[in-house]
Amino acid sequence: MPSLPPVPPPQSLDSATRTRAGAGARMGGGLAMLSRERLWQLQHKLAPYLFLSPFVILFCCFMLYPLGRSIMLSLYKSVGPGKLQYVGMGNYRYLVTDRIFWASVANTTYFTTLFLTLQVPIALGLAVLLNSKLLKFRNFFRFAFFSSHLVGMVFVAIIFGLMLAQRHGLINKMIGFFFPFIGTELNWFADPKLAMPAVVIAALWISVGYAMVYLLAALQSVDQELYEAAEVDGASKWQQFRHVTLPGIRPVLIFLILVGTIGGYQLFELPYVLFHGVWTNYAITIVTYLFQMGFEAGDIGYASAIGWALVVIIFVVSLIQLKVARAREDVA
């Protein structure tokens, strides 16, 4: 089949079709030319849809339909998608009173808050250090800090499971060495007070380098003339950092906090592997609970309701963050 010529722009379409139509009439094939003209017009109209269709079809199959179906499922009590009993808002009503769900919300919020409180300053500190002109082997350090982000969550969870083990784990041994009064028997996974901090430590290891790369790029894009002007005005290094650097990297900070919040609320692999999938009140997260309900208890309907509750929580928290950021921007 010969390849079709490219579709001409609209202005030239009329002249092109006129030329072709005229030539066709001269050849005595008026009808054939007319249909070809229509075909070209049709192609012109359909081409964008054709090019968009692969994405649209995939989006409908794997995003839109599951989303719609999960809304429907959340209105049913189920044993798998096949056996359903309509309960209306029953799943949502139970969700509001479900102690484990609220424990999972509290744990996830605690994790997200602690994680962001530590991740952003650590990443910023590393980025500032790497941005220093005095530092040698900058690329090496940049790669070294970022490389932890290249490994999978499950791998990290297994490694930290070993590192945090009582008596034999590297971290506990170090604690025992430097703080003998604490000893080597900190039980990170069974002590309710230490469980989420253990997850945060593992999460920081994997994500600080990633945040640092963003912040480093942001630091490098701050206009140097502003620093020169600040120096001329007699600003100290701290004042420069506070009044030039921080406002300059503000959009990246907001982005990192937003992405970190969404990622924090979607936390699953780390606690699931670290705690061996055991149901615990002190380490359960929203997505872990969703998984346990859907794939262990087999209640897909209730799991869908948890999923939609998670959507609402993330939406509300993100909205508040954006509003606060915008309000501060207005004040500034």
């Binding site: 044993v79 998608p81 484990i100 070993l162 000893g183 346990q292």
Partner: protein, 454 residues
Amino acid sequence: MSFHLGKPILVMMIIALIAGAVVAMRPAQQKADLTVWVFADSHYKAYLPLIPEFEKQHNVKVNLNILNARALAVRLTSMFMSGEPSDEAPDMVEMEIGLMGRFFRPPIKDIGFMPLNDRLQESGLYDRIVQTRFAPWSKEGVIFGVPHDLHPCVIVYRDDLFREAGVDLTTAKTWPQYHEACLKFRDYWVGRGFKTRHALELPESSSDYLQVMLLQRGINPIDGYGNIHLEDPRTAATLAFYAQLVAGKKKVTQQSSQGIGAFTRDLTEGSLCSFIAPDWRVTYIKRYGAAVTGKMRMMPMPVFEPTDSPTSTWGGTMMGFPRSCKNPDLAWKLMEFLYFSEEGMKQRRESTEILPPIKPMWADPFYHQADPYFGGQKASELYIELAPKIPPRYVSFASPVATLALNEALIRATAYVEEHGDHVDQQELEANCRKWLADSAADLRTRMDQWRFD
């Protein structure tokens, strides 16, 4: 040569093409007459040499696959829930006791496994297997699995270290006496600077071992008919006692680290000097803890009251047959061959210490020999003596939540004990435990109503 999208994209495309070609050309697993899923490495190794013999006898092809236990359960749950028969679906599945409850949520007619009462009766297995062992694999009297084991529990301890401390553990017949012996042991070793030498392995915030003790008293958090037993006064008393073992001034326990490697290291280094041991655990400690050969001993579990069982049960496996099984008769024959034939038993004895659930098989001389690991003690004979006394253990779709409820009550109880130091008021602690367990039971009841699918 140049590529207009850049070299990295070209390299990625080449890698993708090669990977795609390798995946496409990989030979598919040969279609089999029976597909078996197992999760335990020791079982897999025991069955693998038996498969060719069975294939030869019946002129069939059998695929034996090993999967991670959780992955196996999730895949099977998804297959059962989807309701669509799949080529990948197994004909026989070994299931771990802790993962079984989830399959019991639907009404009996919709449970994904085949009911086996008739087959067990017809084959005579029903009368030969220890009756209480059908409990975990049954719902409302309908049996869905053939037990692979019994897993009676004993106490295994470092005889050398207890002797050195001047403690004779065998005289401790009750749990309070055992606690006293452990306190004496602790004081002796702490006095000599061994701060990480602990008398007993027990976790502080997980109720797995608490449930082992409760089973001794005949208490299942949820029984086979869905009744909740958290409000039983003996549950509160056991919880209060357990909390004082693992917390406060009279603490004599510590938790083992994750994994069998760390646990056996704790054992050989003398960090954990006694522990509750079902037969499967003995296999691992003998394999990885050879350094303490001859220094170990075992004894029946202490009891709370004379009517309690001197043993309990921990862990377990069954063979189940999904309703989509292509050839149930052939699958049943394979199960009998792997579990109860002479060849199957020989393989089991070579790879594990696990006692079979059929009483006449215990007469084998293998189970009556002196064990050098235990200083010449006839370890298997102790298990055989205790095996008929194992209490029935039930599992339910709500078992994980019942465990969670017990964990929560345990955390509160240990916090209470830590808070009160030397002045723990036993009656107040028990009263609090009763209240916490009642709260948990009420929550569990509501949840079971929410989950019930009739």
